[in-house]
Every structure is written in C-alpha cells, then in structure tokens.
C-alpha cells in the first residue's frame, strides 16, 4: 500500500504575468514530500475550485499580487461551500494590507503570507496545519 500523501493545489489568480514565487513554493513543498498540483497563471475562482475538487487536494495555496484578494478569496470559500468541499484548506499569499488580512482570516482563509515570508515558513505551516495525515489528527487551521 502506498502511504497517503498530502496533495496541495497551487494556483495564481489575477492578471500579473509571472509565477516565479508560486513555483518556488511548489518545489519546496515537493521537497518536503508533498504532491503539488500546479495549475498555472490567471486562474479564476471557478477553475481553482473545480481543479481542487477533481484533484481531491487537502489544501489550496493561492497567490494574488494584483489586489483583487477581497473578491477572489471570498469567492473561492463560497464555491468550496457550494461543492461541499469546505474541508479543503485555503491559504494564500500576496500584498495584502493588515485590515484585509484580518478580514479574510475571519471569513475562513486559514493563513496568508505576505511577500516577505520565507519559503520554509510556508512549508512548515502547511506541514503543521494541513491534513490529518500530516498533523496526526488535527486538521484545524491555527
């Protein structure tokens, strides 16, 4: 039997045109033994959630730099609820002002990383907070 492994969907929403940052995090998660499903640039919430459901991921990591975070994150949470997939943890990164950050966390985004965050910090967070498999039974976001 192959051991259960964390599956993380990594996507980039919004209009800005590069994905270097997301790819760095994707590779770091891979090196930590996770399966990362990478979906590419300019993803809409509908595409992200559909991919997350088909791929049966444990978490979605979404990067937004272009400032649409207050519409995109809540929309993804809403779609996850519609799909009975609210157990899929949503985390993200981007240039997000502190007030918005708190608001998004209240809505249900598990964690948000600002551009200064170290890749290893993100990997650690995922390891500790995603999936019963990883955290030995606790799937609760901190």
């Amino acid at each position: 039997m192959s051991e259960p492994r964390l599956r993380i969907l990594m996507a980039k929403a919004g209009l800005d045109g590069h994905d270097r940052g997301v790819k760095v995090v994707a590779r770091a998660l891979r090196d930590a033994g996770m399966e990362v499903i990478y979906t590419g640039l300019h993803q809409t919430p509908e595409q992200v959630v559909r991919a997350a459901v088909d791929e049966d991921v444990d978490a979605i990591g979404l990067s937004i730099l272009s400032g649409a975070h207050m519409t995109i994150f809540p929309r993804i949470l809403e779609l996850l609820r519609e799909q009975e997939a609210e157990d899929i943890i949503l985390f993200g990164g981007g240039t997000i002002p502190e007030d918005d950050l708190q608001e998004l966390k209240r809505m249900g985004v598990a964690e948000l990383f600002t551009p200064g965050a170290y890749t290893q910090e993100i990997v650690e967070w995922v390891r500790e907070n995603v999936g019963e498999k990883a955290a030995g039974g606790s799937a609760a976001p901190s």
Partner: protein, 324 residues
Amino acid sequence: MVTETTEEAAARLVESLLKGNRRAAGRVISAIEDGGDAVEMLMRALYPHTGRASIVGITGPPGAGKSTVVDELIRVMRADGRAVAVLAVDPNSPFSGGAVLGDRVRMMRHATDPEVFIRSMGARGHLGGLALASHNALLALDAMGFSDLLAETVGVGQSELEVAGTADTTVVVVPPGLGDGVQAIKAGIMEIADIFVVNKADHPQADRVVADIRDVLRMDLKRPEWTPPIVKTVATAGEGLEDLWIRIRQHRRYLEESGELERRRRARLEQEIVEIAERRLREQVLRPRTATPEFRAMLTDVVERRMNPYEAAEQIVPKTAAAG
C-alpha cells in the same frame, strides 16, 4: 457522527460517484491511490459499472507536447459530444517522494466544463503497481459515465510502458529533433504505438521524423491488419487534431470489428489477476516465512556455504507445493 464500516463508506462513496458527484469521484481516486483494503471494497462497487469507456493512452518523451495535444484533443472530442476524463500520470518523483504535477496547466481552459474531468497522478509508493492504480482510477471515471478516457504518461521507463499497456489505443507523440531520431525512442514505445503523432510539425525536422517512423514501420511485420498511421500536428496552433481524432475512432472501429478489443482486454485482465494474486502470495505466504529467526539462521547457513540457495528456497516453498 454515525459510525459506519469502511465497506459501507466505500459503497456510499461509489453510489455518490455514480450519480455524478465529482467530490466523491475525487475521493474515490485518492483512496485507490492510497491503496489498502479500501481499494477492494471500492472496486467491488465500481466494477459492474465499468467497461463502457474507450481508453486512449498518450505517451512519448518528455516535452514532446503530450499535454498540449491532450488539451486540443479534448476540444475536438467535446465538439463531437464526448464526455472526456483525463488522467495525467507523472511517474517521476525525486528522492523526497514529492512531486510537482503540472500537466493540467495546459488544460485549464477545460477546467470548468462539466463534461471534462482532469486528474493528476504521481508515482508515490504504489506497491500494487502504478499501472494498476492508474487503471483503477480510469475505471472509476468510466463508471462515472465518461465516454472517453485519456491517459497521459511520459514514455521513458518500464512503469510508463505498463501504464500505456492498460489503454485500448496507444498514441505515441514524437517531437522532431530528438538527437538520435526515432532510434532514441524506439526501444519499447515504438512497438506499442497504434497511432503516431509527429507533433511540433512547425519544426523543419518534422518530415525527417515522419520518414524515420515510416522506415521503422516497414520493417515491422507483426501487424497485418492495422498499420499505425502517422499524424502531423501543431498542437500549439490546434492543427491536425481533427485528423488525430478521426484516426483514434478508426482504430477503435478496427479494434471492435476485428475482435482485437476483446482480445486485448482479456489479456490485460488476465495479467491483472495474476499480478494481484502474485502480490498476495508475496505478502501472505513469502513474507511471513522470511520474516522469521529461522530464516535468518538459514541465510547464515547459505552465506557460510552449509546450504545452497535452492535448498533454502525449498524450505520456504517446497517443490511439491509449488507444483500442486
């Protein structure tokens, strides 16, 4: 939460999948990948609903354009009214056991089409065999009602060949400008091709590759009834994909009319049953008998030349038992 047995949970999950619930389908495939007892329970519920879909394997060297071809093929097949499920298998996993699965990047425009399902699969442990896991995943999508299943694999190693071996029709995608030409991919994957795609036909070397493949096919006398056609495509421009779809359907017709489909599926199932049984023998008979202090002692005897390996094996599985 109401406690229920794994068996009941599996049956309920499959029931939900059969109603078209994607969340259930996603979970069923994960359970198939994770392996263990749940797989048997799931397959018990799924298997009666399978066998209808056609399975097309898309294989070829890294970067040949397989995912781009699949993306374009989905477009053509959808226009033809087919419901398409894709399994993108990437058997390459580095030492960590993790993987970045990126095939679906090229297919994201289909991500919100309800008649399209795209799933990525890494190598993991898959002690039951990647081929078995991927085939079972395809069966789940078959049961869900997808008429056509596409399985993308990188055609380089043995496990990839095995994955390709579970398809009804195998499409081998060849890019121009491979160092040694067709020779480079000849070992193994040339033999399994039912259809060749020379992708990146916008490249000046494309006709060379077509000629090379033709040469190889001319020497191949094993296939009297079906000569693999060679289709040129420029997947990035959407060119040649209608032609590919026509060839795939022709091959399907050939398989059905000649009885070859029946033969292939029979042979594949035979192999699958034997593999499952072999694994069971290893786990239930061999492992318990070799994980004993007696076995360690016997090993020492063999190392120190008091016994030979055949005599030792005889102690584990006596010849009569093996023959009977």
